[in-house]
C-alpha cells in the first residue's frame, strides 16, 4: 500500500516537473532593463556629483557672506585701540 503511494507521488512529481516550465521573458524587456540598470547607475553617479557641487556652492556662499559682513564691519566700525570707531569719533 505504502509502496503504491510512493509510486503515485513519484508519478505526480514527474507530472509537476513536466508542467512547471521556465518562462522566457521578452527579449526587448531584458535588453531595455539591462540598459535602464546601467543608465540608473550612471545617473546616481551624476547625482552624487551634483550633491557635492551643491554642497560646495552652499559653503562658498556662507564663506563669502561671512567675508562680506567682516569687510562691512571693518569699513563702518573699524575699532581703534581705545575701542571707539572712527565714525563715532567724527560724530563727537
Amino acid at each position: 500500500m505504502k509502496k503504491s503511494e510512493e509510486v503515485n507521488s513519484g508519478q505526480f512529481e514527474d507530472e509537476l516537473k513536466r508542467k512547471f516550465i521556465r518562462v522566457q521573458p521578452d527579449e526587448s524587456f531584458v535588453k531595455n532593463l539591462r540598459q535602464k540598470l546601467s543608465e540608473k547607475s550612471s545617473t546616481s553617479l551624476e547625482n552624487s556629483k551634483k550633491y557635492l557641487y551643491t554642497l560646495f556652492l552652499i559653503l562658498a556662499g556662507v564663506f563669502s557672506g561671512y567675508f562680506l559682513i567682516w569687510i562691512l564691519k571693518m569699513i563702518f566700525h573699524p575699532k581703534h585701540r581705545n575701542g571707539i570707531s572712527k565714525i563715532q569719533q567724527a560724530s563727537r
Binding site: N8, S9, F12, E13, L16, K17, K19, F20, I21, R22, V23, Q24, P25, D26, F29, V30, L33, R34, K36, L37, S38, K40, S41, S44
Partner: protein
C-alpha cells in the same frame, strides 16, 4: 576540476567585482538570473505586465544594495529570490487592499510563444495546474516553483525562505499531498 566548479569560481569573481561596483559584472549577474527571477514572479503573479514590473524592481533594488551583499555560502540567486519574495508579498498586500479582481480568479497567461512544442491542450493543462497551485498558501507556491522550475535542493530553498531544511522537507510533502487531493477533488467534480 569540473565545468560546474569552474563556472562557480568565475561567477564568484564576477560577484566580487559587482559588489565593488563593477557595472559590467553586475550585468553578467543580471543576464545569468533574469530568466529564473522572471519565471518565479510570473508564476506568482500570473501576468506578464506585473512580472516585468516586479522583475525590474528586483534588479533595481539589487543594484542599489549590492554593496551591502554578504556571501553566506548560498547562491547569489537566493538573495535575488528573497528580494523578489518580499516584493511579491507587498504586491499581494497592495492588491488585497485595493480589492480588485481576486488573485485566484486571475487566469494565468500561458503565452504559446514560450512553449514552442506545446499544443493548445498542453497550455490548458498547465493553466489548470497553475490555477490549483495559486490557491495554495504563498509559501507553498514558492516552494513548488523553486523545486520544479529551478530544480533547487531543500537546502537552497530553506535559505531563500528562511526556514530549516527539515521544515522545507516536511512542507514539501504536505504541499504535494494537498495539491494532489485538490486536483483529485477538482477532477471528481468535473
Amino acid at each position: 576540476m569540473s565545468n560546474n566548479e569552474k563556472e562557480e569560481i568565475i561567477l564568484e569573481n564576477v560577484l566580487e567585482k559587482a559588489i565593488q561596483g563593477d557595472l559590467e559584472a553586475f550585468s553578467v549577474l543580471y543576464q545569468e538570473n533574469v530568466q529564473r527571477i522572471y519565471t518565479y514572479i510570473y508564476y506568482r503573479t500570473g501576468n506578464k505586465h506585473d512580472a516585468e514590473d516586479l522583475t525590474a524592481r528586483v534588479f533595481q533594488r539589487a543594484l542599489s544594495h549590492i554593496g551591502k551583499y554578504e556571501d553566506k555560502g548560498v547562491p547569489f540567486s537566493a538573495w535575488l529570490y528573497r528580494i523578489a519574495h518580499n516584493l511579491i508579498a507587498n504586491w499581494h498586500r497592495d492588491r488585497s487592499r485595493k480589492k480588485e479582481i481576486s488573485i485566484d480568479e486571475t487566469p494565468l497567461e500561458i503565452p504559446s510563444m514560450d512553449l514552442p512544442e506545446s499544443s493548445l491542450i498542453k497550455d490548458q493543462e498547465i493553466g489548470e495546474l497553475m490555477a490549483y497551485v495559486r490557491k495554495l498558501p504563498a509559501d507553498r507556491q514558492t516552494l513548488l516553483i523553486l523545486k520544479f522550475v529551478d530544480d533547487m535542493t531543500n537546502d537552497e530553498i530553506a535559505s531563500i525562505m528562511g526556514k530549516s531544511e527539515g521544515a522545507i522537507k516536511s512542507l514539501y510533502h504536505r504541499t504535494l499531498l494537498e495539491l494532489r487531493d485538490r486536483m483529485a477533488k477538482g477532477a471528481d467534480k468535473e
